[in-house]
């Protein structure tokens, strides 16, 4: 027993090293540039692929060839990182946080297709490291010597990084900029150079982490997203901006994984979640983190006031509804499917908007509640033998329960911390669906989730979905303009003052979180019966990002924006998927371009444009009222 514990501890320590390198880079980049770099997992993946190519070319048996290839891969990715910073990020430092995040997710999509184009879809098995091919016998069990090497790499890198940050001028500048980058600029430090070098350095660290995994596991196209979610967990647990914290958290997570596989092989990620939960309850800003100074809304324009729909907007809404109601009599049959899907995603986007806009809580993992709604319906049908209507009613409860639990943790944090936590929770939900094969069918999903006979015709199901979605969206709107909605917005805009006038801000946010989860769950349940099946991908990261895109495309400042955004996004995606196999690349590039061209979002840009025109008029009134948004 003792030797098993020993072996698993070593295992955990070995996997911690790469995780540490990636998380550390992520943390440093966020500290200085305030950008949550979703593409950090992509740098990790590129590092592994490049190392595979370079090592194969230089000769894997030769020590110089192998280690030279690994290091060169890191250097090349660092250069790529610098290029990305100069070409893309430099243009969007002033944009709201979520837009920056979207731009980096656009990069993720682009890199996925570039890697697919260059290296193909098959997994790549790397060579073993020269000099570390044998086993070492420790306490009676054989242990690969490369694992021991990795265990040593972690603390060595920690020491090197400590030296770099404490003892060099560059490190001092990075630490100073992490605290107050504007002041560093005002003291004559070239910020552009500093930002570029920090980004390149972080990218290089991630790539090194990937390259070092080469002898350990196969390189594949899914490494990026699985790594980024773990890195988020590590950063949240360790504390943003702390290198030592990142190491401690990486070791903790690595060891939990190792033992989890031994004890509860099905729910290793749930264990990770439990540990994260315990840490965050005791230390909300992570093991070594500090409470962030300054406001959460550091940049971006002031949000315009949300106002109830005007007469005109109501008329337009009614007209749109009439069009949707009459559409089946005009359009071809297959359009009914598209329209059903659009209605469902409009509700999904509206539920995310409810949380992000009035609630002020950016969620990177909203697909979790959509997916849980879908699984709720599927499980009710498969395991409880429920017919469609009770299953539809039951499903949102599963999403709601997740909202109760996840939300309780999330509302304790704010800003990026909150967003990273929502992503980590979504990954846990995804992993549960993926790993718990006995109940969820794992990757194969659950099939045969068909609607009741009366709702089976496409036309009937379309009207059913439309009716449920319209009622749910209207309910969300009513809540936004009810006293609860005012309290929610008050808590978003000024938590301290709201507390001072007696509003329980956290509880209000928690309730809003649950409401949004339930609404997303309704959308998910409708989607399950619509497709007839559910899969873990329903709650994967890309679906969460789809939701973000819909909301931001339409404009987070308006209540009807996300609905428009959902229609625009789904239409675009469908056309792209038809047009090219590399639709991810095109999609990613369009996202990046959109963010660069409209750093304040489509609606924000339009509002700014309208304002400039108004100010240009000679007789403009001095007391301009803010443009009300609808």
């Amino acid at each position: 027993m003792i030797d098993l514990i020993f072996a698993q501890t070593l295992n955990g320590l070995a996997s911690a090293s790469s995780l540490f390198l990636v998380a550390c880079g992520l943390s440093i980049i966020f500290g200085v540039t305030r950008i949550v770099n979703f593409a950090h997992g992509s740098f990790y993946m590129l590092g592994a692929y490049l190392a595979f190519t370079l090592v194969s070319r230089f000769g894997p048996a030769d020590a110089l060839g192998f280690w030279g290839g690994v290091l060169l891969a890191a250097v090349i990715v660092a250069a790529l990182g610098a290029l990305v910073e100069i070409v893309i990020l430099r243009r969007i430092y002033q944009a709201p946080e979520l837009f920056q995040l979207l731009a980096t997710f656009g990069l993720v999509l682009m890199v996925q297709d570039i890697a697919l184009g260059i290296w193909g879809p098959e997994d790549k098995l790397g060579p073993r490291a020269p000099g570390f091919k044998s086993f070492v016998v420790l306490m009676g069990s054989r242990f690969p010597s490369y694992e021991l090497f990795l265990i040593v790499v972690g603390p060595i890198m920690l020491g090197l990084l400590w030296f770099l940050f404490q003892k060099t001028r560059w490190g001092t500048l990075v630490r100073a900029a992490t605290q107050d980058r504007e002041m560093v600029g005002a003291l004559g430090v070239n910020q552009r150079l500093l930002f570029t070098s920090v980004f390149a350095f972080g990218a290089g660290l991630a790539a090194l982490g990937g390259a070092l995994q080469l002898p350990r596991e196969a390189v594949n196209l899914h490494m990026d997203l699985s790594m980024i979610s773990e890195a988020f967990v590590v950063v949240v647990v360790g504390g943003l901006g702390s290198v030592t914290g990142a190491y401690l958290a990486a070791v903790l997570i690595g060891i939990i994984h190792a033992f989890g596989i031994l004890i509860f092989p099905k729910i290793t990620l749930v264990l990770v979640f439990l540990v994260m939960a315990v840490v965050l309850v005791i230390k909300p800003y992570g093991l070594m983190g500090k409470r962030p100074v300054g406001s959460a809304h550091a940049h971006g324009p002031v949000e315009p006031l949300l106002l109830p729909a005007s007469h005109n907007v109501k008329l337009i809404g009614l007209a749109a509804l009439a069009v949707l109601l009459l559409a089946p009599f005009v359009v071809a049959d297959h359009w009914l499917l598209t329209l059903t899907e659009l209605s469902i995603f409009a509700l999904f986007a509206a539920s995310l908007h409810f949380m992000m806009g009035p609630g002020g809580m950016a969620s990177f993992g909203h697909a979790a509640y959509f997916g849980l709604g879908a699984y709720g319906a599927a499980l009710a049908v498969k395991w409880l033998g429920m017919p469609m209507v009770p299953a539809l009613a039951f499903a949102p409860f599963l999403a709601g329960i997740a909202g109760v639990i996840f939300g309780w943790f999330c509302v304790r944090l704010s800003g990026v911390y909150l967003a990273m936590l929502t992503l980590a929770f979504a990954q846990i939900a995804w992993a549960t669906a993926f790993q718990w094969v006995d109940v969820t069918g794992g990757d194969n999903g659950i099939l045969g989730v068909w609607p009741a006979a009366w709702a089976a015709p496409k036309l009937v199901y379309y009207y059913l979905a439309l009716a449920v979605c319209v009622v749910a969206i209207l309910a969300l709107r009513i809540i936004v303009f009810a006293p609860f909605g005012y309290a929610l917005r008050a808590g978003r805009d000024s938590p301290l003052r709201s507390e001072a006038i007696g509003l329980p801000v956290m509880r209000i946010q928690w309730i809003a979180f649950i409401i949004a989860a339930v609404a997303a769950g309704i959308a998910g349940a409708l989607f399950a019966f619509f497709k007839g099946s559910v899969f873990p991908t329903y709650m994967a990261i890309p679906r969460s990002v789809d939701g973000l895109l819909m909301v931001l495309l339409g404009g987070v400042q308006t209540v009807s924006g996300p609905i428009v955004g959902a229609f625009a996004f789904m239409g675009l995606q469908e056309q792209l998927m038809k047009a090219t196999m590399y639709w991810r690349f095109v999609m990613g590039a369009s996202i990046v371009l959109l963010v660069i061209l409209f750093p304040r979002g489509l609606v924000g840009t339009a509002l700014a444009f309208a304002e400039r025109r108004r100010e240009a008029e000679p007789a403009a009134p001095v007391t301009a009222t803010p443009e009300p948004a609808r």
Partner: protein, 233 residues
Amino acid sequence: MLEIEGLNAYYGRAHILHGVGFSMGRGEVLALMGRNGAGKSTTMKAVMGLVPPQAGRVTFEGHTIVGREPFEIARLGIGYVPEERRVFSELSVMENLSVAQRPKREGAPHWTPERLFQLFPNLGRMRDRPGGAMSGGEQQMLTIARTLMGNPKLVLLDEPSEGLAPVIVEEMAKTILALKGEGLSVLISEQNLHFAGSVADRATIIEKGLIRFTGTMDELKADEAVRAQYLSV
């Protein structure tokens, strides 16, 4: 040395500066005076490029500086000491100084940590203390010392006496006079006429984003009406 003309600046939608203009000469200490919210800090930030001016001209030793990045403006020889001090609280005193270190500059006094510790003996006794563990007065000294590490020709001091104990305010006045003695030009923003009078040669008064008075300190002291209208609370 510094000429400002028609400076307009905004914070978001709020129009703060409506055409500020004044100039200052080499080796001069100019007090930029006015009540809270008059636009003193914004003027300094606009000069520094921290609040990009929407209109107007700012030249420093013949260089147009509107539209340049703050770090470029700093490298031309303008040092900025913000009102909120903004010490790097997790960096030690020595590290705070090293962040701002720039090469020796022609026509400006050259500062090293050792020289600064003669000017601020307190700092010399706490070289390894983190900025966050210092008193308000010590932090104020550290921000000034930090800015001097860039070897500036002109220092913008935003409300240096604010929130300091009277003894320290006196020390601050001595420091400013010592800087003047080194040949530095200093623009200080100030609400306190007594303090301004003890260090400045001239004063310029700003109110609602416009310059309302410019003259020598003696002229201001003699002008009861101006003081009552723009300075008294």
